[in-house]
């Protein structure tokens, strides 16, 4: 049979890929990382990439604070300043908190439900590579005339071509589309994984809270991201092809952008916080040696928060002139959403009350979350009330609020997760003293940075201005905030030193360093590729704890002899031939298509778009036709 050159070279490429795939299956070398479909490796890649973006976002923050330290600052000009805060916000939200949460979904959820991997391992790898492509694409804007400068929320028509002629906004819109695809894929994957791949006996109400929050967050993702996608498409069609969605000259309204953006944007902030809340719900019981107080309430309040998060978005638009009826309705719904959050706080306090508490770093971080988040939540309540929001809107009070909940909340929660779970995946504990130093420096630095901003906001200092005049009463608070920012930076340095030191010289963790309650602590650290030698049969919530301890008459735990994890799985289960999915290059290949398509559109090079489509299709077809495991 005669083969054409195209067929011949395609077959050559495919054969080469097959050989590399066989090598990747040995778990050795760089190709094994590039082709991995193992949720643990994907989780590690997410975590490292997200942390690097965290450093980038942090540098952006320091630049902003340097510029604002004194009135009439000369560090950054207007244009650069606008790019700086746009990139800082976009980075921290889409390239740090979301992927760090995804890192934990990947690392922890399959272990907590007793599974060997996620439902769609190649789709999982695809999510990671697409995330990386999106982040790199977004940052490459610097080399094409400048980063986006329209804020992380991209309000149109400011972001329309007429007012923003460079490429920056196109990089922003298309970059977020790529990131959106990554998140959507992840959302579908984790919902199916959690619904379908639980170990025998693990009913939904026996699942750990972190897994529950992953499920809820994934639903938020799949319903919120499509709305953003439409808004971004409309903006791109306006900018690239002359459509009129937000063109005021043809009757386009800025309100359409705001509705679409915030219909996504509000659920998005709960996407950012619920995973961290899930982490707190894991850490508190472990370090208080008590079960989570009011487990059903914590679970259902998470569901309630997610549900209600779709009903409050107009509170970002109180001052746009929608009228008193709309404002009041959403004011009420926004006040109401504080209720399930309060339920969680009280249940966390109930967990700690009367517990046998060990103040290790994960717990400190979790306590930091609770205290800081309560403050942030209270400022949120002040926002919910329309009259007070009228003064607060577009001031530093808002900046204080969202940093309080996203840094004081999400970042502290995510660090709790890092200190808690890093030992499981690396086999080594992080140094406890450095951890405590990190915590206190970060807590103090955080408060020194952001509490002054509440005052600044109440004094009327607007957001998104690159400088301010002296004599407004703002000088001192800005200087203090800048000092705080550098304290935060110092704390992160301590963390980095801790990681580098501990990965080499840290104390060996063993399977269960914290005397944990959930299934991930029942297997060795680091975790073998197949996770569980035998899939466990689950008899109760916190099943692993019950294998380790019985309770005496006073309710105190008494160790069961040989009930712990000692590297050998003592649990009953089904002995199975362990059949793991094979590595694959096609997720990466498919992911490569997206930036090519995006660059093509930005540069109006449609041949490049076509190439990108071909690459994407090659990746997808290769993936579809390749056996999942061989």
């Amino acid at each position: 049979m005669a083969q054409t050159t195209f067929e011949g070279s395609s077959l050559g490429v495919l054969e080469a890929l097959r050989q590399l795939r066989r090598q990747a299956a040995t778990y050795q070398g760089i190709w094994s990382w590039i082709a991995t479909v193992d949720h643990k490796r994907i989780g590690i890649m997410y975590a490292i990439t997200a942390f690097l973006f965290f450093l980038a976002g942090g540098v952006e923050a320091l630049a902003i604070r340097l510029q604002l330290a004194v009135p009439e600052g000369q560090v950054l000009d207007q244009e650069v300043y606008n790019q700086m805060f746009t990139m800082h916000g976009t980075t921290m939200i889409f390239l740090v908190v979301m992927p760090l949460s995804a890192a934990f979904f990947n690392l922890v959820v399959p272990l907590q439900i007793g599974a060997r991997d996620v439902a769609f391992p190649r789709l999982n790898a695809f999510s990671y590579w697409t995330f990386l492509m999106g982040g790199l694409f977004l940052y490459s804007s610097i080399f094409f005339g400048g980063a986006p400068n329209g804020g992380w929320f991209g309000y149109a028509p400011l972001t329309e071509k007429a007012f923003n002629p460079g490429h920056g906004i196109d990089f922003w819109a298309l970059g977020l589309q790529i990131l959106g695809i990554s998140s959507l894929a992840s959302g579908f994957n984790f919902i199916v994984t959690i619904l379908n791949m639980r170990a025998p006996g693990m009913s939904l109400l026996r699942m750990p809270v972190f897994t529950w929050m992953t499920l809820v967050t994934s639903f938020l993702i799949i319903f919120a991201m499509p709305v953003l996608a439409v808004g971004l498409f409309q903006l791109s069609f306006d900018r690239l092809f002359g459509a009129n969605f937000f063109n005021p000259l043809k009757g386009g309204t800025p309100l359409l952008w705001q509705h679409l953006f915030w219909l996504f944007g509000h659920p998005e902030v709960y996407i950012l916080i619920l995973p961290a809340m899930g982490i707190v719900s894991e850490v508190l019981p472990t370090f208080a040696r008590k079960p989570l107080f009011g487990y059903p309430f914590v679970v259902f309040s998470g569901i309630a928060i997610a549900f209600m998060s779709f009903g409050v978005w107009v509170h970002h638009m109180y001052t746009t002139g929608l009228g008193p009826v709309a404002n009041s309705a959403f004011g009420v719904s926004t006040i109401l959403i504080a209720v399930p959050t309060g339920v969680k706080i009280f249940n966390w306090l109930g967990t700690l009350w009367g517990g046998d508490i060990r103040f290790k770093t994960p717990l400190l971080m979790a306590l930091g979350f609770i205290t800081m988040f309560v403050v942030g939540g209270l400022t949120g309540v002040t926002h919910s009330m329309v009259p007070s929001d009228y003064q607060q809107q577009d001031t530093y009070y808002v900046v204080a609020h969202f940093h309080q909940v996203l840094f004081g909340g999400a970042i502290f929660g995510l660090f709790a997760g890092i200190y808690y779970w890093l030992p499981k995946f690396t086999g080594r504990l992080l140094d406890e003293r450095l951890g405590q130093l990190h915590f206190w420096l970060m807590l103090i630095g955080f408060n020194v940075t952001f509490q002054p901003m509440m005052i600044l906001g109440l004094l009327g200092m607007p957001r998104r201005i690159q400088t301010y005049p002296t004599g407004m009463g703002w000088d001192l608070w800005n200087m203090i905030a800048t000092v705080g920012a550098f304290l935060i930076a110092l704390s992160i340095l301590v963390f980095i030193v801790n990681v580098i030191y501990s990965l080499r010289r840290g104390q060996k963790a063993g399977a269960d360093p914290w005397d944990g309650r959930t299934l991930e602590w029942s297997i060795p650290s680091p975790v073998p590729p197949y996770n569980f030698a035998r899939i466990p049969v689950v008899r109760a919530r916190d099943d692993f704890w019950h294998h380790k301890y019985r309770e005496d008459e006073a309710g105190r735990p008494i160790p069961v002899v040989a009930g712990g994890a000692n590297g050998h799985e003592e649990q009953e289960g089904h002995a199975e031939h362990i059949h793991m999915p094979s590595p694959s290059f096609f997720p990466l290949i498919a992911a490569l298509g997206f930036p090519l398509i995006a660059y093509g559109f930005v540069l109006a090079d449609y041949a490049l778009v076509a190439v990108g489509v071909v690459v994407l299709l090659f990746g997808i077809y290769g993936w579809a036709l390749e056996p999942a495991s061989e």
Binding site: I191, N196, F233, N244, E626
Partner: protein, 204 residues
């Protein structure tokens, strides 16, 4: 749609439902938000264009009705293809798959013709709010149909090579779910955009 059948037979999922079928329904639920946003945008801007062409200047309801019939028929042939796949009637399955794809292509041809006519009458993406919201809504729908046609033709080719059968009929079923969804989006578009055009007297 890879050959997961071997591994799948050993999986017993917690819900008893197939992973991929569950994923497809989640995807379709999420697509409701996508098309909902596009339709809402169209409805927001309906009647708001400051200059023409307006819908009644360009719409050809008889023509679009025929396109709509074609797409509805394609759903029927798709359902027949899925039924044939489940019953192991592979020749029928291939025939119905091809019919569905061809009907889909006819629909797309109709759209292309229609859009060309509209452009000739002066309605472009940039003309006004109607042009922008109409072309982007129907354009994304058409893009979804195109992807569907690609999937159907791929299945047909794979079936011709003996790789689709009763044991992996799920692949055809999944394609069917996607295809029917794209059809019901058109049902909504045909009604809300074409039939309920305000200046021809069609509703608020």
């Amino acid at each position: 749609m890879a050959q997961r059948a071997h591994v799948a037979e050993h999986l017993e999922t917690s819900t008893g439902l197939d992973n991929r079928k569950l994923a497809m329904w989640l995807f379709l639920a999420s697509e409701a938000l996508f098309f909902g946003s596009l339709i809402a945008t169209y409805l927001l801007y309906r009647g708001q264009s400051q200059e023409g062409p307006y819908p009644h200047d360009v719409f050809n309801i008889p023509f679009t009705s025929v396109s709509s019939f074609i797409l509805l028929m394609s759903s029927t042939t798709m359902a027949l293809a899925v039924g044939a796949a489940h019953r192991g009637r592979l020749h029928q399955m291939r025939t119905w798959l091809l019919c569905t794809a061809l009907l889909g292509i006819s629909f797309l041809a109709g759209q292309a013709f229609e859009f060309t006519e509209f452009v000739h009458k002066g309605l472009t993406l940039s003309s006004n709010l109607f042009g922008s919201s109409f072309y982007v809504l129907t354009g994304f729908h058409g893009a979804h149909v195109s992807v569907g046609v690609l999937i159907l033709l791929s299945l047909w080719v794979m079936a011709a090579r003996g790789r689709i059968g009763q044991h992996n009929a799920l692949n055809v079923e999944l394609a069917g779910l996607y295809w029917h969804f794209v059809d019901i989006v058109w049902i909504l578009i045909f009604t809300l955009v074409y039939l309920l055009d305000p200046l021809a007297g069609g509703g608020a």
